[in-house]
């Protein structure tokens, strides 16, 4: 389709067509130039991924060289202190902090998000839904720094007021991080699940109603199971967002790498560690500075795996009804 004949073949039966000039050179240039150009655009996205992998990979190798830390020690070491002598680079405390935030925020976001999704898809009249859904989505559009600010300003003081003096609440604590991150990811669950539940074919609902089912039974025993894989995919996406969340946890949870079961104490997530090292004073090229890339690599791999899993689940769901 790139090379265009400039003249149109003329049928013997029709009068010659003096009025048709064929396409202009300008058109020809576009025809030739556009496909490679937009192909390059598509390549940018691939280059981005390659770039991320290359940057993280190279610097991670440099980190392991510079620090002399082994992979097992890095991944499973229970203590993180680059300034100790000798420095210790076990990122288990970071995994733990990240896990606590992801788990705690899921406890809030998954049930609330799922119930909201069911309400929006099964109960809410159309008008209400068209107002509520974007309103909930606003929660996801608020910059994460605002959530961090609110954790400091609102959530932690409330926790203190309620729990203290009976239980000590540290100023930076995991629970307030869980609360704000949980709120932040509610719309991921509610919006995506709502899409999935609404996509459950109407025929299934009608079949159930036709058998004398109540709305509750239709929603929980027919629609939800039918959309379950999609709902689970939305859960995973939301959790992966919680894992990657940075500013809110940096402000709310603090930067204290420790493994503790007490959610009222400070912890450190992988993301917060990265920013903290960056903002801190480790010299560029030092093992401590390079450790941020290694942690970044771990973070990237974790979220990538979660995204891939949810992608696979979602794809299966789509195929079921196509």
């Amino acid at each position: 389709m790139t090379q265009l004949p400039q003249t149109t073949p003329v049928s013997p039966k029709l009068p010659p067509r003096r009025s048709w000039a064929g396409r202009s050179w300008f058109q020809g240039v576009q025809e030739v130039a556009v496909p490679p150009l937009i192909f390059l655009c598509a390549c940018v996205t691939v280059l981005t991924t390659l770039g991320i992998i290359a940057v993280l990979g190279v610097e991670t190798v440099r980190f392991f060289r510079a620090s002399g830390v082994g992979l097992v020690e890095f991944l499973a070491g229970p203590s993180l202190n680059p300034k100790a002598d000798p420095p210790r680079y076990g990122i288990l405390p970071l995994f733990w902090g990240t896990f606590v935030i992801a788990f705690g925020s899921s406890l809030i976001a998954l049930p609330v998000g799922l119930l909201s999704a069911i309400f929006l898809s099964e109960y809410a009249p159309r008008g209400l839904r068209s107002v509520l859904k974007p309103t909930l989505e606003l929660l996801a559009g608020i910059p994460t720094i605002v959530y961090g600010y609110l954790a400091l300003l609102l959530v932690t003081p409330v926790l203190k007021a309620v729990l203290e003096p009976a239980i000590r609440v540290e100023f930076y604590n995991a629970l307030s991080g869980c609360v704000v991150v949980g709120i932040m990811i509610i719309p991921m669950v509610s919006s995506l699940s709502e899409d999935v539940l609404s996509a459950v074919p109407r025929g299934l609902r009608e079949a159930a109603y036709g058998l004398g089912a109540t709305k509750f039974e239709v929603a929980t025993r027919v629609v939800l199971p039918a959309g379950l894989s999609g709902v689970i995919a939305s859960f995973i996406l939301a959790i992966s967002r919680a894992v990657g969340e940075t500013m809110a946890v940096l402000l709310a949870v603090g930067v204290k790498p420790q493994i503790t079961l007490n959610p009222l104490r400070s912890m450190e997530t992988m993301t917060a560690y990265i920013v903290n090292v960056m903002k801190g004073e480790a010299a560029v090229g030092s093992a401590e500075h390079l450790s941020l890339y290694a942690v970044g690599m771990a973070l990237f791999v974790i979220t990538l795996v979660m995204n891939i899993i949810s992608g696979i689940i979602l794809k299966h769901f789509r195929e079921e009804y196509d």
């Binding site: 300034k83 003096p165 540290e170 930076y172 930067v255 903002k279 004073e281």
Partner: protein, 299 residues
């Protein structure tokens, strides 16, 4: 590397380094901006003293805020990259050990107690471990980032230790420490005097006894200026790249900074340098400018 910066405007003056000195440089940045025509292009960041020196050696920084003298290896590195500098004293600081105001029982701490509290592997985790008359309540610690200038001075110079215990809430940002201690009844921490001065209503400074028999001394402008707040008093510096003094915008800013250093230090909550130190600063300035006496020196 800022090879392509020249495009739209001249290179700005970049100040980076100690978070302790940051408020003074911030005050200088604002006052200088207000005092001249137009908008001088000055950037003030903080990445800790060590971070500042590191970036200086990379050529990214014109003026390093430092809360301790440069270490020999830092001097070495700067010289190796061909960036000679001149050092100026811009304030005196007393590292303030602060607790939450709800904590009324800690009337004073000895240097020995500080040492046992902060030493590596310390077993102190409740107040009665320090003094049996204090309640059995947990302690939480907020300290500057492990090799910030403040940390370095407090741990190594003042307490004579090699390092510090690890179960602390470290931050390169002293504001984070202040917020942390202000929000935590069992907290104790240390940071520059300015951060205490700005938050007197939210913190309580603990008087320090040089040894068990000495009188407790609270940090204040007077005690720091006269040196009686020991051993936690220290001078604060800026290190200015000599080569950058050739750029009028840097020279003007540094001149303004040093001429008004007394006011700026106080505005930022620190104690002004002594007369001698100020005179030495102006000397150094005129030397760095290539022998021309600074205009202020004539006044």
């Amino acid at each position: 590397g800022c090879g392509g910066c020249g495009g739209s405007a001249s290179k700005p003056v970049v100040v980076d380094g100690s978070s302790t000195v940051y408020p003074i440089s911030l005050a200088a940045q604002e006052a200088y901006t207000n005092s001249v025509e137009g908008t001088p292009r000055i950037i003030v960041d903080y990445h800790g003293t060590g971070g500042g020196f590191g970036r200086y050696a990379e050529g990214e920084v014109d003026i390093v805020d430092a809360s301790r003298p440069a270490k020999p290896e830092e001097e070495e590195k700067a010289r190796a990259s061909g960036f000679e500098w001149t050092r100026y004293v811009v304030a005196h600081d007393g590292i303030t050990v602060a607790v939450n105001p709800e904590n009324a029982f800690v009337d004073a701490l000895t240097v020995g107690q500080l040492r046992s509290l902060f030493e590596p592997g310390s077993a102190v985790d409740s107040w009665d471990d320090l003094d049996p008359s204090w309640p059995d309540e947990p302690i939480s610690l907020y300290t500057p980032d492990d090799d910030s200038g403040t940390y370095e001075f407090f741990v190594k110079d003042a307490l004579g230790m090699d390092g510090q215990r690890e179960d602390v809430q470290p931050s390169a940002d002293d504001n984070v420490l202040v917020s942390g201690i202000a929000g935590d009844a069992g907290a104790i921490g240390y940071f520059g005097f300015a951060y205490y001065a700005a938050n007197r209503d939210k913190l309580r400074a603990v008087p320090i006894k040089a040894d068990a028999d000495a009188e407790p001394v609270s940090p204040s402008v007077e005690t720091i200026y006269d040196g009686s707040y020991a051993p936690l008093s220290r001078p604060l510096f800026i290190y200015v790249k000599d080569a950058a003094m050739g750029r009028p915008e840097v020279a003007d800013f540094v001149a303004y900074y040093l001429e008004n250093v007394a006011d700026l230090a106080e505005e930022a909550g620190y104690v002004s340098p002594t007369e001698d130190e100020r005179a030495e600063n102006l000397d150094g300035l005129s030397r760095a400018k290539g022998g021309t006496p600074a205009p202020a020196a004539a006044e």
